[in-house]
């Protein structure tokens, strides 16, 4: 219907006697009018039908009608009220364009969300309506010296007041300037910030703002009726036509892209239910949406935040661009991508119930992973705390108790020497006995300290420590070391304690020989102990398990695998 109106108006504009519009100046201007009108109508329909019943569609169609209005003002055969209506409608182009621009810069075009007009848009509509109503009631074209443009009987005229109309036109120019400036400012701020999904489409915002600027320029250059024959105004008309065509293209492109996303998200519902087991949900989502850096964070209440698929906590996006996915009222996940945050907002809303269910299922799995990860971390912390405690105890023994005993030993020896020099045999013997006892205590202390953790394990490495273990044990211990790089301390400690447990068990069982082999392959330390008797190895199991390793044993052999990462 609107397309029909457009073609009719264009037809009319060519055989009109009066110049009411640029379109009538020449065929080029006529072509600009036709193309821009059709483009705006088309874009308006696309936005209207493609984007739900939101207001941007209405605003775009309103802009299209307002843009065509000057054409039918010059329709001589029409009833006078049609011409008057045209004069009423034409100035509405400005607020309609402001409406479009702000709709796309505040994210109000959510489709399913109710449209909230900004204050600027409301002011624009009110000012324009007041202006056109006042002008219609006060402006008598016959008294207007510039009536060449719309010399028609104004059917709405109440009382002709040319002076008031002149003031009104000046006020309108000023209002247009202020509104235009306000829009440029707000558009610049939102586009520059590009925060969250505030800017739905930069292209739409920029072209609509440009079209508004052209409107403002026209109002400034020619208050009241304008003379289409002025070259500056003709140029502005062409620029306006071009910006409106670009706006229409931007609107169409945006709607098309959004449709693509929606279609892919509809596919996602199937994809999610089919593929969850085979590939990760994030992969399926990113394939369906075309966002390659898409990340998913699952809500885990115990973590008081979101957690990635591997169970690691995922801090919130510093720019606040995470899109939350809810199932009912409960948070399920956040979707994060740095590529195209304008369409991200749509993903959150377009996800179907099946996809939400799939995400929630995945969330439950991730919650388990998170708890397991927490347990593993806690085990590792306990082990390292116990190592630290052993090390401190060892140091206390060496630097505290042993040093004090050495001082006692020194005094005893000095006393024994003095007593020997005096020739007091009985006392000398007593003191020498004490010296021997003191030495025995020192030796005992040394063994205790060594049993906690041999210092050589940290300074000489696992193989050296195991050889040392062989020196001290009462059985034959061979060590074959094929590790190349130095091992991380916790790994070396666990490997040492595993081998030490096996050697201790072999000693208890009266075995005569234990062979230890160390391999270091594919990021894992493998400790093989041949001749290790059967036993529980509970502590070894705990320690190795805390590092994510495992223990394999058969009758006479023990094999311990510890990841080194």
């Amino acid at each position: 219907m609107l397309a029909g109106v457009a073609t009719a108006t264009v037809q009319l504009s060519t055989d009109s006697d009066l110049l009411t519009t640029h379109a009538a100046v020449g065929p080029a201007a006529g072509a600009v009018q036709v193309v821009a009108s059709l483009a705006l109508v088309g874009a308006g329909l696309v936005v209207w039908f493609g984007g739900g019943r939101g207001s941007p569609g209405v605003a775009v169609l309103g802009a299209a009608v307002a843009f065509m209005a000057p054409v039918w003002i010059g329709w001589q055969d029409a009833p006078p009220w049609v011409q008057s209506l045209g004069a009423l409608i034409a100035p509405l182009l400005l607020p309609c364009l402001i409406d479009v621009a702000t709709s796309f810069s505040t994210g109000a075009d959510g489709g399913d969300r109710p449209h909230r007009r900004s204050g600027l848009v409301r002011v624009a509509y009110v000012v324009t309506v007041v202006h056109v109503v006042l002008r219609a009631t006060l402006h008598d074209p016959f008294l207007d010296p510039n009536c060449w443009a719309d010399c028609r009987a104004d059917t709405l005229l109440v009382h002709p007041a040319p002076d008031a109309v002149a003031v009104l036109d000046l006020l309108w120019s000023a209002a247009a300037l202020l509104l235009g400036a306000g829009l440029v400012l707000s558009s610049t701020v939102t586009v520059a910030r590009r925060s969250s999904a505030a800017v739905l489409d930069v292209g739409v915002v920029v072209t609509a703002t440009a079209a508004v600027s052209v409107q403002v320029a026209r109002a400034m250059l020619s208050p009241g009726a304008e003379d289409p024959r002025r070259e500056v105004l003709q140029l502005l008309f062409v620029v306006e036509g071009v910006t409106l065509v670009l706006l229409a293209c931007a609107l169409a492109r945006f709607t098309w892209c959004r449709e693509q996303h929606r279609a892919s998200l509809r596919r996602l519902a199937d994809v999610a239910s089919e593929a969850a087991g085979i590939e990760s949900l994030a992969t399926a989502l990113s394939r369906a949406t075309g966002l390659s850096d898409l990340e998913l964070g699952y809500w885990v209440p115990a973590a008081a935040g979101h957690v990635d698929a591997a169970g690691r906590p995922m801090p919130p996006d510093p720019h606040g661009r995470d899109v939350s996915v809810l199932r009912g009222d409960a948070p399920v996940a956040v979707i994060r991508s740095h590529e195209d945050h304008a369409s991200m907002a749509l993903i959150g809303e377009a996800l179907g119930p099946a996809a939400r269910l799939a995400l929630d299922n995945e969330r439950l799995r991730v919650e388990e992973v998170y708890h397991v990860q927490q347990l593993a971390d806690s085990r590792a912390r306990i082990v390292s705390a116990s190592d630290r405690a052993r090390r401190e105890l060892e140091r206390d023994l060496h630097d505290g108790a042993q040093q004090s005993l050495l001082a006692v030993l020194y005094s005893l020896q000095v006393a024994a020497a003095a007593s020997r020099n005096r020739g007091d045999d009985a006392q000398t013997r007593a003191l020498e006995g004490s010296v021997d006892a003191c030495r025995a205590v020192l030796a005992e202390l040394r063994e205790i300290a060594h049993g906690l953790f041999p210092v050589i394990l940290d300074t000489g490495g696992l193989a050296a420590a195991l050889e040392n273990l062989g020196d001290r044990s009462g059985l034959v211990v061979t060590v074959q070391d094929r590790t190349v790089a130095p091992l991380p301390k916790p790994v070396a400690h666990a490997g040492y304690l595993a081998a030490a447990a096996a050697v201790a068990a072999a000693t208890d069982c009266g075995h005569s020989r234990v062979d230890i082999r160390l391999h270091h392959t594919a990021g894992e330390l493998v400790v093989e102990v041949y001749g290790a008797p059967a036993g529980a190895y509970v502590q070894t199991h705990d320690r190795v398990g805390a590092l994510g390793g495992h223990l394999v044993r058969d009758d006479e052999n023990l094999r311990v695998v510890i990841p080194c990462e």
């Binding site: 030993l409 030495r439 050589i456 061979t478």
Partner: protein, 226 residues
């Protein structure tokens, strides 16, 4: 601290001059460079980690000052530490347990031996190595005397020193050593210092004879056949 004060007192009483005392490795190295002492006594535990900084400092002294004798005091009866030191330079280095040095006779004797160019290895380490079980133990094939002399060799004593300790003639000592080394499959190095290291490495390894000239790898036991 107590140990250091005690040692200083013992040495001064025994008529030796203590030219400097140091609290950490840097200070120690500076003293050695400035004073050029005959001998240095180092505690293996030094700041900051109190593990083996003293050994590292000792190795540096051995490396930079070939004429300075170095005696490392330790509380670890770990042959690996003694071997690390001996491998750097077999002569004029010693490794003794801390408690032993309060016996002024032992301390002065060790310093004198080091000054004469011998090595000193703590008897506890040697006896632990001698007692160590080995598969089909060749050390068991040695006579009691030969074992005794082998232990003396491992402690770093010269033939003269062994003869003096065991009250036997030096030529008897030489004969025993030759025989013992033959039984163990060791080549008696002409260099008296090398034989200390060779003996220790042999005792540390598992029955297979080791090369008398040590390589770093020989710290590790030869791998059993796969």
């Amino acid at each position: 601290m107590l140990t250091r004060a005690g040692i200083v007192r013992l040495l001064t009483e025994a008529g030796h001059e203590v030219v400097g005392e140091a609290g950490d490795a840097t200070e120690l190295l500076r003293h050695v460079a400035q004073q050029g002492p005959d001998a240095v006594i180092v505690d293996i535990r030094m700041p900051p980690t109190h593990t083996d900084e003293g050994l590292v400092a000792a190795q540096q002294i051995v490396d930079r000052h070939p004429s300075v004798a170095v005696l490392v005091l330790s509380q670890y009866v770990d042959p690996a530490y003694a071997l690390r030191l001996l491998e750097e330079r077999p002569e004029r280095v010693g490794y003794l347990l801390k408690e032993r040095v309060f016996d002024v006779v032992v301390l002065v004797d060790a310093l004198r031996r080091l000054h004469d160019g011998e090595s000193v290895v703590d008897p506890s380490i040697v006896s632990r190595l001698m007692r160590r079980p080995r598969a089909d133990d060749p050390v068991d094939r040695l006579s009691a005397r030969e074992q005794e002399i082998l232990a003396c060799v491992a402690e770093g004593l010269s033939n003269h020193g062994i003869a003096a300790r065991l009250y036997i003639a030096e030529r008897t000592v030489e004969a025993h050593i030759t025989r013992a080394f033959q039984k163990l499959g060791l080549v008696d190095a002409a260099d008296a210092h090398r034989r200390v290291l060779a003996t220790l490495l042999y005792l540390r390894s598992d029955s297979e004879p080791t090369s008398p000239t040590p390589a770093t790898d020989s710290l590790r036991s030869p791998p059993p056949d796969d």
